[in-house]
């Protein structure tokens, strides 16, 4: 065959394929399956993100009661009990609303006062080695104790909470933790983080009284954590689609639209989203500075870097005396990276499951919508504190739209998986 003819034939073949493909795409189809065509390494990435890869939450050796049904039940009741606050109006559920992804839809949380950061969703929180946006707590139960004594959140003291448990939940408490200490003669309110009067009352107590009350407080956190640990994400359309890709199930491969499939492709390739939003929860559980603008101009939130000292000094950490863990079970704390300059202005990578249901976004709700979030990553602005890890990522308007569409396909139910006994 003459060279000229060969080229003409090849060109004609290409034109035919391209032509029929565009015809097929424009008619809403994908006759050659290009949107479902993934390389072996891409399939491995998809599989690693599938909800089936999650398994049960890792055991927390510092919480002896986390697997006990009685602890889950007690924790669930306290979770919604508004008496556990300075004004009788704030419970955990106020900012972690079970009807709203266990968060509140607000840029910053509002308890008895106004907070400085966004309430985080609770599903699958049991998988995080560190809790809060800055990771300043190393267990679910230690985290629960933070807001309870924070002056703008619940605004109460551990003495008050011990009294409430004693009055309203004594039997349930004692079944799990043994006899309640005798609180007779002790003040109504006393704690190390309260008002000056409350702190003075706390300082005036005997060592034994302080230890007893703190132990009750720690146990309360452990019951709350047992409940929170039962919260998981269920299957989303994205998971259905991945199942389809891996098994060849044609119906399952229809679970995502063309735009969503294209968005997924951008998520794992060009957009480089999966480098931090990896695994079945779409988070690496680590801390990153991505140039989110400060909520208060001129006053950037230091994030993780300021949390290291708090973690190490927390009396409720894995190595503390209220922890049920052996020191050699406290790997994350023992091997904490204390000098990483990248932690300045760095915040925890949140899970992207159900993300479309949870505007606004980032640690103080600075970014209102998912299209704005995508644009933020495309622009990769300079950070006000520390250094933005991201570089500008050019995406077309259509690609940005498809990426947002894909993020919407990550939504699924929140399920409660209670222990047998």
């Amino acid at each position: 065959m003459k060279k000229n003819t060969k080229f003409k034939l090849a060109l004609a073949a290409f034109a035919a394929i391209a032509g029929t493909s565009s015809l097929s795409f424009s008619m809403g189809g994908d006759w050659f399956g290009w949107f479902d065509s993934w390389s072996d390494s891409e399939r491995a990435v998809l599989e690693s993100m599938h909800i089936g890869k999650l398994g049960p939450a890792p055991k927390d050796p510092s919480n002896r009661v986390e697997d006990m049904r009685a602890a889950v039940d007690l924790g669930k009741r306290i979770f919604s009990d508004r008496r556990f606050s300075a004004n009788q109006a704030v419970s955990c559920a106020s900012c972690h609303d079970p009807g709203r992804e266990f968060q509140d839809g607000r840029p910053v949380a509002i308890g008895v006062g106004t907070g400085s950061r966004r309430a985080m969703p609770l599903a699958a929180a049991g998988f995080s080695p560190f809790l809060f946006w800055d990771g300043r707590k190393d267990s679910l139960w230690a985290q629960a104790l933070g807001p309870l004594e924070d002056p703008v959140e619940h605004g109460g003291t551990r003495m008050k909470y011990a009294r409430l448990l004693s009055e309203h939940y004594r039997d349930e408490y004692e079944r799990l933790f043994g006899p309640m200490p005798d609180l007779a003669g002790l003040p109504q309110d006393a704690g190390p983080f309260g008002s000056p009067a409350e702190r003075a009352a706390w300082a005036a107590l005997s060592d034994k009284a302080r230890a007893d009350v703190t132990r009750v407080f720690a146990n309360m956190g452990k019951a709350l954590a047992a409940f929170e640990k039962t919260l998981y994400y269920g299957e989303s359309r994205f998971d259905r689609y991945v199942h389809g890709v891996l098994s060849g199930d044609k119906a399952a491969k229809q679970a995502l639209s063309r735009e969503e499939k294209n968005g997924l492709r951008i998520f794992i390739n060009k957009g480089q989203c999966v480098t931090c939003h990896n695994g079945p929860l779409l988070t690496d559980g680590h801390f990153h500075n991505t140039g989110v603008p400060p909520r208060v101009p001129g006053k950037p939130d230091p994030g993780r870097s300021a949390a290291i000292a708090k973690l190490q000094e927390d009396e409720f950490n894995c190595l503390g005396k209220f922890s049920d863990a052996q020191p050699d079970q406290c790997g994350e704390l023992q091997f904490l990276a204390t000098d990483d300059p990248r932690m300045a202005g760095a915040f925890k990578t949140p899970s992207l499951r159900n993300v479309a249901a949870r505007p606004p976004y980032m640690h103080a709700g600075q970014i209102a919508s998912l299209p704005d979030v995508v644009r933020h990553y495309v622009d990769a602005p300079k950070s006000a504190l520390g250094q933005n890890e991201r570089k500008p990522t050019p995406l077309s308007e259509e690609e940005m739209r498809d990426l947002v569409a894909f993020l919407g396909a990550l939504s699924g139910p929140i399920t409660e998986i209670r222990p047998e006994k």
């Binding site: 080229f7 290409f14 794992i268 790997g331 890890e389």
Partner: protein
């Protein structure tokens, strides 16, 4: 005319195949992935191995370092400092791994290693003993299991 057609075809083929890359993040070609290597000034040989296989992303796990001199004799009583990270992402280890036990016979237990994502990681060792001070940077590529 023919040249133009060739260019069109090449561009088309390139465009069609551009979706095959997973990320921009492939390690550079020719990276030395040996975990048994001589240190920079040849004072020591180090052999690293993970004590957990397969390595699971985001899980703290221990490694073992075997330290010998250039003649293969084990070196005990060395102080080994460990650092590292992902050069393509400009970040360090998510934890601070360190040698916690001298196991004897030149073996050292390295605990607290955690890889927060797949990709190319550097493990940098700084070794000090009576023999002197030397360094080596080893490369570890963490990959997802790929089913063919």
């Amino acid at each position: 005319m023919m040249k133009k057609l060739k260019v069109v075809l090449l561009v088309a083929v390139a465009a069609l195949s551009s979706t095959a890359c997973v990320t921009d993040d492939a390690p550079p070609p020719g990276l030395n992935l040996e975990l048994t290597r001589a240190t920079n000034q040849k004072l020591y040989t180090v052999a690293l191995k993970s004590l957990e296989e397969p390595i699971v992303v985001n899980k703290i796990h221990p490694w073992e370092i075997l330290l010998t001199n250039a003649n293969g004799e084990p070196i005990d009583n060395a102080r080994i400092k460990v650092d590292g990270g992902m050069p393509q992402h400009g970040h360090g280890f998510p934890t601070q791994p360190r040698v916690t036990k001298n196991l004897g016979n030149g073996r050292y237990l390295l605990e607290g290693v955690k890889f927060s994502m797949t990709g190319w990681w550097e493990i940098k060792l700084d070794i000090q003993s009576a023999l002197g001070n030397d360094q080596i940077t080893l490369n570890k590529v963490i990959a997802l299991p790929v089913k063919k």
